[in-house]
């Protein structure tokens, strides 16, 4: 599903004395079947933007077009409900969102609230666990005994269980070790290529975004500061409090200090070949 965001704004406590404008005049164009990275430091407003795109909060200004439907200030409740069933969202504070005891019940709850009809409930739940690489032994385990990384994978399994068209994740790499990050990268790539999902990732981890996203938006002070192909953004962009991806810092350093003829890359093997050619 294609998403277009026009002049979007969000103000907390709108129309009261405590109002606080967090997002202003945001324009995004997210094509069907792409992976988009939205990067920004901690207080940039990206978490609020993630929640608005996931329709957890509704825009106080501007509009979001999702497919043929437009979400603005006055919305039909059923329409929002229908749209939400097609969006999978993982919050930054996902670990506070578990309400049931076992892993099985957590996923079943997701199927129920999204009114997702399956022929075989149990098989669907098991498949969801399998696809994120969690062991079947966890099915009846208490959620509180899972590690942070396993909890994150459980959130993914919950989200994929009802087969949303759009996947939105706030801080996807947080709490995951590099090995699990690689698994998540493979999984999200597969979601894009094989299941044609549209994936929007909000993160301050530029290493992770560099390996996955094609197009990047930089959010600062509640609005889009820059946008472009990822290499352009990381090459020239002023990211302020954000760190460059490690691979980009290395390439930038070699190009600036030694005028090395190496290209901007997202893969260490490509970088190695470039270095080999350049040094030889």
């Amino acid at each position: 599903m294609e998403i277009k965001v026009n002049h979007l704004g969000y103000t907390y406590n709108n129309k009261t004395k405590l109002k606080e404008e967090v997002l202003k005049d945001i324009n995004l164009e997210i094509k069907d079947n792409t992976i988009i990275g939205i990067i920004g430091s901690k207080a940039s407003g990206k978490t609020t933007l993630a929640k608005v795109l996931a329709l957890q909060k509704l825009p106080t200004d501007g509009e979001i077009q999702m497919g043929t439907i437009t979400v603005g200030q006055k919305n039909d409740r059923d329409m929002i409900k229908n749209l939400k069933q097609q969006i999978g969202f993982i919050d930054e504070y996902y670990y506070e969102s578990f309400i049931y005891d076992t892993v099985y019940n957590e996923i079943e709850y997701m199927l129920n609230t999204h009114e997702y009809v399956t022929l075989n409930h149990e098989k669907r739940i098991k498949d969801s666990l399998k696809i994120v690489g969690l062991s079947m032994e966890l099915l009846n385990r208490h959620v509180s005994t899972l590690s942070q990384g396993e909890k994150k994978k459980l959130m993914l399994a919950k989200m994929l269980s009802y087969n949303p068209k759009i996947i939105i994740i706030d801080e996807p790499s947080l709490d995951l070790d590099k090995h699990s990050q690689n698994e998540l990268i493979k999984l999200l790539k597969m979601m894009q290529l094989r299941y044609h999902k549209t994936i929007i990732l909000f993160s301050s981890d530029t290493d992770f975004i560099n390996r996955l996203a094609e197009y990047v938006y930089v959010i600062e002070n509640g609005t889009v500061k820059e946008q472009g192909e990822k290499y352009e953004i990381f090459k020239n962009g002023d990211l302020e409090a954000l760190d460059l991806p490690l691979i980009t810092s290395f390439i930038k350093l070699a190009r600036l200090k030694k005028h090395a003829k190496i290209e901007y890359r997202d893969d260490i093997y490509d970088l190695m070949k470039d270095v080999y050619r350049s040094v030889r």
Binding site: Y95, K258, L271
Partner: protein, 269 residues
């Protein structure tokens, strides 16, 4: 005594699942040690065992003292700790009161307390937050307040369980410099539990937890020297080490590098 922490042959079970199988853990005094482990490797369980929140089948020896349920208060004066996702445990309305709390009941005059709070908040660059409510801070600032609170009692050991993950690289490096200064001047020992292999490069020693026990233990140079042993774990090499290994394979360099500048200088002479 060379070691600040000794633990031998510990086995631990959660319900029926074996978490540790004959785990030996020795941590050297006055060093920065990173305990690396993938998610699910039992890092947080180990922290809980060290802090006396869980009891295993073996006694933990901290600085020559065996820890039992009876002398836990002594352990708490010895050890400062910050935990993963510790963002809602603040009791007071201002950061100042929060930081002053550990010093109460310790016969410090209010002037001394003020001095100590000022010193620690200046070193961690959080002086501007002292009058704010800790619960309304950004997560990265909350982590700094947690750290300041853990350090203000001048503990001999600081245990960090993923407690720096919200910090950007620049702030994290400043914090680590502060800790290294304390290691040098105040004989602090830092034990940093993380899954972030990049962060392990800040430390002196690395302990790799994998498959229910300590798989590798040594200086960071030795831990990363043997790629094959490391590849048996569920972890991946840090970027600069990974690149070092790949370039060594093609004989472009002849050692592991820990600094990008040095590597670039040596490659393009």
């Amino acid at each position: 005594m060379k070691n600040i922490l000794e633990l031998k042959n510990l086995s631990f079970k959660y319900d029926q699942e074996l978490i540790f199988d004959n785990l030996d853990l020795i941590i050297a005094k006055n060093k920065f040690t990173t305990v690396l482990g993938s998610s699910g490797s039992g890092k947080t369980t180990l922290v809980k065992l060290l802090m006396g929140e869980l009891t295993g089948d073996r006694v933990i020896i901290f600085n020559g003292m065996a820890i039992t349920q009876d002398n836990l208060p002594e352990l708490y004066t010895l050890v400062g700790a910050i935990f993963e996702n510790q963002y809602d445990t603040f009791i007071f309305k201002t950061v100042f009161e929060e930081l002053a709390f550990p010093l109460e009941n310790k016969n410090y005059s209010s002037l001394e307390i003020e001095k100590k709070v000022k010193a620690i908040s200046e070193s961690l660059n959080i002086s501007h937050l002292l009058k704010q409510n800790p619960n309304t801070l950004q997560t990265s600032d909350k982590e700094l307040v947690n750290l300041a609170e853990a350090l203000i009692k001048n503990p001999q050991i600081l245990i960090i369980d993923e407690g720096l993950k919200a910090l950007d690289k620049k702030t994290k490096e400043q914090v680590i410099d502060v800790l290294k200064e304390k290691i040098k001047k105040q004989h602090l020992t830092v034990i940093y539990f993380t899954h972030n292999v990049e962060d392990s490069l800040y430390s002196d020693d690395i302990i790799v937890l994998d498959n229910k026990k300590v798989l590798i233990h040594g200086s960071k140079e030795t831990v990363y020297r043997d790629e094959e042993v490391f590849n048996k774990t569920h972890l991946e090499l840090p970027f600069i080490i990974d690149l070092s290994k790949k370039l060594q394979f093609y004989n472009m360099i002849d050692q592991d590098y820990f600094s990008m500048e040095k590597m670039v200088n040596d490659l393009w002479k």
